[in-house]
């Protein structure tokens, strides 16, 4: 069936397109205007905004850690709703099903879960398979696991065994890419370290955090995995940590790297309170390092819960838990910390965090390398993205928020001096085109023929919160799934992963390792093609090598 979206303002920054025109969809793909054929279905979208379906590069939507958060804070949607956040007051709103529905209503069609635990990949994939409509992918976490650390201890960083191990882990867990969270820090925590810096050594293993990240960058490059290592650096959330982030960037030696939720590393230690915006220094480094991409991790005020594999950081953060309860889960590799948190507008630090995130977006010279995220749910629930789009696109809205912040925060923030307003095209870059490019998902994030027919149509409004909260129309793989902000058709998306080759010898080694130390068989946590009864559930993204 040929579908025509007629007469909309098509925003497709991947092809420098911002003009009124038509889009044609057929067999789940975007197609050229066919000669001599009338469309079977015409949607008049004149005066509307037409974009590709949005892509979220970093959102904790599935897996052991998220479900641990749900266990600790079933009341999260209830508290958030009572505060006026856009979420219904039901525990189910935090469940897998509601996640897909709400994302689709906002025009999102692909979401990346950024912290799959290798031994718990089955649960992550079960949960992802329970999320309707959207396509998904997971990033698998390595770098604090004893197998990797043991290889790095031997000093044979460049040996093929690490390459095979990473390739095997990616394939075994059906992951799209590799995540590294506070490299070595979680392992050091197990030896009772309570801080861990870039050049500190992991006890017993002797390798530094820097050494782990460098080795992983090399391996990912050698394997040709399209998405670079997705890195959560050391010292997250600590005053003065901008130095760590800049040092991590300096250490990249030109290899591609993706730094996650950099707002949380954008902190200086100037001023009376020893906490200041590090955004200018951070953005200077990011603007300079052309091989680096980042997502922001914007903070909004209100109740949320922080969920992270940075167990060392979360352990320290437990003192700020609100409500006063927390989980520290000590497990293979990273483990997890879950700490409920309420970002307060009246808090000097929280207000500055909010401003730092916005500064990062607005100081970016190249938005293709500065991607949108709130690190859901860590900075803010994903249901609040439209509020942030509004702040980025409307300086009056920004000023309105800014003026209600504490005097002390306003005095040390540079945000008021920034007049930039993101355009629709720029918004489409940070929410569509750039995520697709960074993830290596070339068939989406744009509207050229051949792309998957994931399209979101919005009514242009001055109030961007309203505009982006409810898409007029959303097509997922060419089928209408949302009309007037409501899901009208439940479909089930696909799960993307890479499948780099490896020497089969690694399977025996890994089997022996798990058998000896865990009494476990790695096949227990392998995700196979037959995992799902939906025949086309999995799709492979090609590696360059």
């Amino acid at each position: 069936m040929l579908i025509q979206l007629k007469g909309g303002r098509v925003i497709d920054p991947a092809h420098n397109r911002d003009a009124v025109g038509d889009i044609y969809l057929e067999n789940g793909r975007i197609v050229e205007k066919p000669d001599g054929r009338e469309p079977d279905e015409v949607h008049d979208v004149s005066s509307k905004i037409v974009m590709a379906g949005a892509i979220d590069v970093h959102s904790h939507i599935a897996g052991t850690n998220v479900t641990l958060g749900r266990q600790l804070m079933p009341e999260l949607p209830l508290i958030a709703a009572a505060e006026g956040q856009p979420i219904l007051p039901s525990t189910a709103q935090w469940g897998a099903y509601a996640t897909g529905i709400r994302y689709a209503e906002m025009g999102y069609t692909t979401v990346i879960e950024p912290a799959m635990i290798p031994t718990h990949a089955i649960q992550a994939h079960k949960e992802m398979a329970s999320i309707p409509i959207i396509d998904v992918a997971g990033l698998v976490v390595l770098g604090n696991d004893d197998y990797t650390l043991n290889l790095l201890r031997k000093g044979n960083v460049k040996s093929d065994e690490l390459k095979d191990y990473v390739a095997w882990t990616l394939a075994h867990s059906k992951a799209l890419g590799l995540k590294v969270i506070n490299a070595g820090g979680s392992e050091a925590f197990k030896f009772n370290a309570r801080t861990f810096d870039l050049d500190e050594e992991v006890p017993e293993y002797g390798v530094t955090s820097r050494g782990i990240v460098e080795a992983m960058q090399q391996v990912v490059a050698d394997l040709g995995v399209p998405h670079p290592p997705h890195v959560h650096t050391n010292n997250l959330g600590i005053a003065g940590n901008v130095e760590t982030a800049v040092a991590t960037l300096e250490a990249t030696q030109g290899h591609p790297i993706h730094l996650a939720h950099i707002q949380f590393y954008g902190y200086g230690k100037e001023g009376d309170k020893g906490f200041s915006s590090g955004a200018p220094a951070l953005m200077e480094a990011i603007n300079k390092h052309k091989n680096a991409t980042v997502d922001v991790g914007q903070v909004l005020f209100g109740q949320t819960v922080t969920i992270s594999g940075d167990v060392l950081r979360q352990f320290d953060g437990r003192r700020a838990a609100n409500p006063k309860k927390w989980v520290i889960n000590q497990a293979e590799g990273n483990g997890t910390g879950v700490v409920p948190y309420n970002y307060k507008k009246k808090s000097f630090v929280n207000a500055l965090q909010w401003a730092i995130g916005l500064e990062i977006f607005l100081l970016a010279e190249d938005l293709w390398r500065v991607l949108f995220s709130t690190d859901h749910p860590n900075g803010a629930l994903f249901t609040r993205y439209p509020e942030i789009f509004h702040l980025l696109m409307d300086r009056d809205e920004r000023a309105r928020w800014f003026d209600s912040l504490p005097e002390a925060s306003r005095q040390v923030s540079g945000l008021a001096g920034i007049s930039r307003e993101l355009t629709l095209s720029e918004l489409a870059i940070i929410t569509r085109a750039a995520p697709a490019k960074v993830l290596g998902m070339t068939d989406r994030g744009h509207l050229a023929p051949g792309a998957v027919a994931d399209v979101a149509v919005y009514t242009e409004q001055k109030n961007k919160t309203k505009m982006f909260a409810a898409a007029d129309l959303v097509f997922k793989s060419g089928k209408v799934v949302v009309r007037k902000g409501n899901v009208v058709n439940i479909s089930w998306g696909r799960c993307f992963h890479v499948d780099p080759g490896f020497d089969r010898q690694i399977e025996k080694r890994v089997h022996s390792f798990y058998d000896t130390y865990y009494g476990a068989d790695p096949r227990w946590f392998g995700v196979t093609e037959t995992f799902s009864d939906r025949p086309d559930r999995f799709a492979t993204i090609r590696c360059a090598r």
Partner: protein, 357 residues
């Protein structure tokens, strides 16, 4: 088979408050049960949910400090084994927790075992073991140990016990990674709180954690599935506009006894485990039974034979060694019995068709 499915659909479509009990099934079976319970406005509970529910409530109130089985096995220098259940559940538990070879672990202590509120029994060779019990009840000795760990004064008439408790408290403070191992089904909530508070005290200066035994019958797997589906653990009702969890109100046994539930879906289909049926099951309450074992149900009940997960079909279930859900291959390759998920899915479709007609 088809007529049994139709009868099951008819029976359930008429029910006002059906309860899904047993739930000895794999994650796919649990997913299907949750979907059908949501469709019908029913209640879900698991036959071994006492401990899970207690642990869930304590966690919701104050949090938790779990360690994975692998971390305990490789890195704990002091294991505090509380009560009898852990070894009743797994006779080889101590052998598994004290393996010959481990990953590098923190501190220089030799590994030790402290058995609290239970007999020392057989312990792995070479592991120094202290038994703390005597004539005191389990909650008492846990409280004594908690006080000793915090260096708080305590009194006991049993001088030998007092000495052991003091020494154990000191050992815990000096441990590089102390782990308390228990079955939440054996410990009352105040005891769970005491253990957690002790861990929270220890972590101010060192590393400590808990290892809570998972419920039998894939109780943990079913519970996790419930949480990611609706945000709440088992003993949840879908009768209202939003899901509601209540450990007391939505216990299958109570709902059947009080007559609040007017239909039962009983699921017992896991290899190597048998769900203990509620005392009032199959007595005057219309039931749909999905079982891989012979069942004595009522004359009007619908009994559907299904395959046993793990034996008759591949299954995803909670696996203690990885402290998470894993995939297990079927032991018998040629079973053609339907799965719980198949059957519940078909019943759901028949109910939809009935509704549409």
């Amino acid at each position: 088979m088809d007529s049994a499915l139709q009868r099951a659909a008819d029976l359930l479509a008429q029910a006002r408050l059906p309860v899904f009990g047993g739930l000895f099934t794999d994650v796919n079976g649990a997913t299907a049960a949750l979907a059908l319970a949501q469709k019908l406005g029913g209640v879900i509970d698991h036959a071994a949910s006492d401990g899970t529910c207690r642990a869930a409530r304590v966690m919701r109130e104050t949090g938790s400090t779990p360690a994975s089985f692998g971390e305990v096995r490789n890195r704990a220098d002091t294991v505090v084994l509380i009560g009898d259940h852990p070894r009743e559940r797994d006779a080889e538990l101590l052998q598994k927790l004290f393996p010959g070879e481990t990953l590098p672990r923190p501190g220089d202590n030799k590994r030790e075992l402290i058995v609290v509120g239970a007999k020392k029994g057989k312990v792995p060779t070479g592991v120094r073991t202290t038994e703390i019990g005597g004539k005191n009840t389990l909650p008492e000795v846990v409280a004594l140990l908690a006080a000793a760990t915090r260096e708080m004064p305590f009194e006991t008439r049993d001088a030998a016990l007092g000495k052991k408790v003091l020494s154990a408290g000191k050992r815990l403070r000096e441990s590089a990674f102390a782990v308390f191992v228990y079955d939440p089904a054996e410990l009352e909530e105040p005891v769970l709180h005491t253990v957690l508070e002790t861990v929270r005290h220890l972590v101010k200066t060192t590393r400590a954690a808990t290892l809570s035994l998972s419920a039998p019958g894939n109780g943990e797997g079913v519970n996790l599935c419930s949480i990611w589906t609706c945000g709440l653990p088992v003993r949840t009702s879908f009768a209202g506009d939003v899901p509601e969890n209540n450990m007391w109100a939505f216990e299958a046994e109570r709902l059947l006894k009080s007559g609040e539930a007017d239909a039962l879906v009983w699921i017992d289909a896991l290899d190597g485990a048998e769900a203990p049926p509620p005392t009032r099951a199959f007595r005057g309450i219309p039931s749909v039974v999905l079982s891989s074992k012979p069942v004595k149900a009522g004359r009007d009940d619908v009994v559907i034979e299904v395959g046993a997960a793990v034996a008759d079909h591949d299954a995803e279930v909670y696996l203690p060694p990885i402290s998470g859900i894993g995939a297990v291959k079927a032991t018998s390759a040629d079973s053609n019995k339907p799965t719980v998920a198949d059957v519940l899915g078909k019943i759901g479709t028949l109910i939809d068709e009935k509704g549409a007609a």
